[in-house]
């Protein structure tokens, strides 16, 4: 674990933005998309990366319910982790407002920054729409 007092520039800024409903993704002139922190497009190396608003709605593309967690999520298990497709970009997060057994592919979700019950750290979450 890194020093708790130090932020992860780019990533924590993104979480801040997501908390106020202003989540974004990065796009290079060729249309390749990525998540921060980036100086360069991971696909083509372009240095001009524009922030674009993340579409509000995503869709669960795949998910798993984790019963054996790392110590950082000891008190959270079992919990559902999903990859949600937001169109230009996919994001990995925890489904927060549903019983893990009710989670399914195709469910529409929106981003909802939550926190770990174990550590209190911020966690990228999804809530169903």
């Amino acid at each position: 674990m890194s020093d708790e007092s130090a932020r992860d520039a780019g990533f924590d800024d993104w979480l801040d933005a997501a908390e106020t409903g202003d989540a974004y993704y990065l796009e290079c002139p060729a249309g390749h998309t990525s998540l921060p922190p980036r100086r360069l497009c991971p696909t083509c190396g372009a240095a001009e990366l524009d922030e674009r608003p993340l579409p509000e709605m995503g869709e669960i593309e795949t998910f798993t319910v984790t019963h054996v967690p790392t110590p950082a999520f000891e008190d959270d298990a079992p919990y559902a982790t999903a990859i949600a497709d937001f169109g230009p970009i996919r994001v990995t997060g925890q489904v927060v407002d549903l019983d893990p057994d009710a989670v399914d592919t195709g469910l529409p979700v929106e981003l909802d920054v939550t926190s770990s019950e174990t550590t209190g750290e911020r966690v990228i979450g999804f809530k169903t729409v």
Binding site: T66, R90, T92
Partner: protein, 388 residues
């Protein structure tokens, strides 16, 4: 370009040995490899060593020189880290160094100490192979990552938990005569299906165990083997490496392993073979679904059909192309830094007729070893052929 021969192989038992240091494990494996090779230690010109989580498990970095010392070798040493593909990478570099004439004799292998961390600690340590910010902090574990792939595979191509259970059953069966294997115990499909869930749809029996262990190979140039009358009947004739985006969600397909495909195509081309020439393979089955994805990436099964390979007997010991005759990571064990070189050791013995399962591949001349890092953001494939 000179050919590369495997002069000797050495493995510790893989299993639960929390008190053993990785230096002790590598000393045992390398001693066995030297004894098997007939090559004197003083001829070694470089040590290439794979290890993943030494900083976390033993608070030990800078392991290259430490392991040369443990092996009783005075030669420059380098540690390779590419998650679970660490020693596959070390072998690949060793092959290239011998080929380009840099060295005639190298010691290559790897070790991992894991079980001293306990299940939660080792789960945390393994997770560092994923993207810390975007995956691990969302609670993704390693079993979780492969579970996401398994679910995506079932949705795209069909198949289910029972098909995966057949992979586990097959690999446990294969490990029965392997004295170095962590589990020499057969299991039933029903038992696997009833096992506790780790990360749905994967259960305990879909996952390889946590393991301590080490592997070592003595590689020589063809010229050295001939000049010194070394018995080294198996050559490494192809090497390939592939790469992909670090986070699973950044990949085009969630249920395929393009890095393994890239590594396989390169290794096949390097050796001048095609997938149809492969007689036997050790593939990286850290989870049962990983074996399925590997078979498809290596063109040993068409995309979308690998899921039925074990169930329908296309990869079992009595099939034309047995997969993971050692027991695989699933039953042999997976001390991650040792795995890549251990797979090469298994294929060498299978081809040389010295493996307890060699009877199943009596006429085999060509074998493949596939080693994968993380959710296959890195991979190596090696082709081995009987040379004499």
């Amino acid at each position: 370009m000179t050919g590369v021969r495997v002069a000797g192989t050495g493995l510790t038992p893989f299993g639960n040995a929390p008190e053993r240091t990785s230096r002790d494990l590598f000393a045992e494996a390398s001693s066995a490899a030297f004894a098997d090779s007939g090559v004197p230690r003083e001829d070694v010109e470089a040590v290439l060593y794979g290890n993943f989580m030494g900083e976390l498990a033993e608070h030990q970095g800078h392991q290259g020189p430490l392991m040369a010392e443990a092996a009783g070798v005075q030669a420059p040493a380098t540690r390779y880290e590419s998650a679970c593909a660490s020693s596959g990478m070390a072998v690949r570099d060793a092959v290239m160094r011998v080929r380009n004439g840099e060295h005639d004799v190298v010691l290559v292998g790897g070790a991992e100490r894991m079980t001293n961390l306990g299940t939660a600690g080792a789960t945390e340590a393994l997770a560092i192979a994923a993207d810390e910010l975007w995956e691990v902090r969302a609670g993704m574990t390693f079993p979780g990552a492969y579970a996401l792939m398994a679910k995506a595979y079932f949705d795209e191509f069909g198949g289910g938990r029972e098909d995966l259970a057949h992979v586990a059953v097959k690999n446990h069966e294969n490990a029965l005569p392997n004295e170095k294997a962590q589990y020499q115990k057969s299991i039933e499909v029903a038992e696997a299906l009833d096992a506790p869930t780790v990360s749905s749809p994967l259960s305990l029996y879909d996952a390889c165990p946590l393991s301590d262990g080490a592997s070592a190979l003595v590689l020589t140039s063809e010229a050295y083997a001939e000049a010194h009358d070394i018995d080294a009947p198996v050559a490494i004739t192809g090497t390939g490496q592939g790469g992909d985006r670090m986070a699973l969600h950044d990949r085009e397909f969630l249920a395929r392993s393009p890095a393994a495909r890239e590594a396989g195509e390169a290794a096949y081309a390097d050796a001048g073979i095609g997938a149809g020439d492969v007689d036997v393979a050790e593939v990286h089955d850290c989870f049962t679904i990983a074996e399925v994805l590997a078979l498809e990436a290596l063109d040993l099964e068409p995309v979308g059909e690998g899921i039925t390979a074990a169930r329908d007997g296309r990869t079992t010991a009595d099939s034309d192309t047995p997969i993971n005759l050692s027991g695989g990571l699933k039953a042999k064990g997976h001390p991650v830094g040792a795995t890549g070189a251990s797979q090469i050791a298994e294929v060498v013995k299978l081809l040389a007729g010295t493996h307890p399962n060699s009877e199943h591949v009596a006429d085999a001349t060509t074998g493949v070893a596939h080693n994968a890092g993380g959710t296959v953001a890195s991979a190596t494939v090696h082709v081995l052929e009987v040379a004499e």
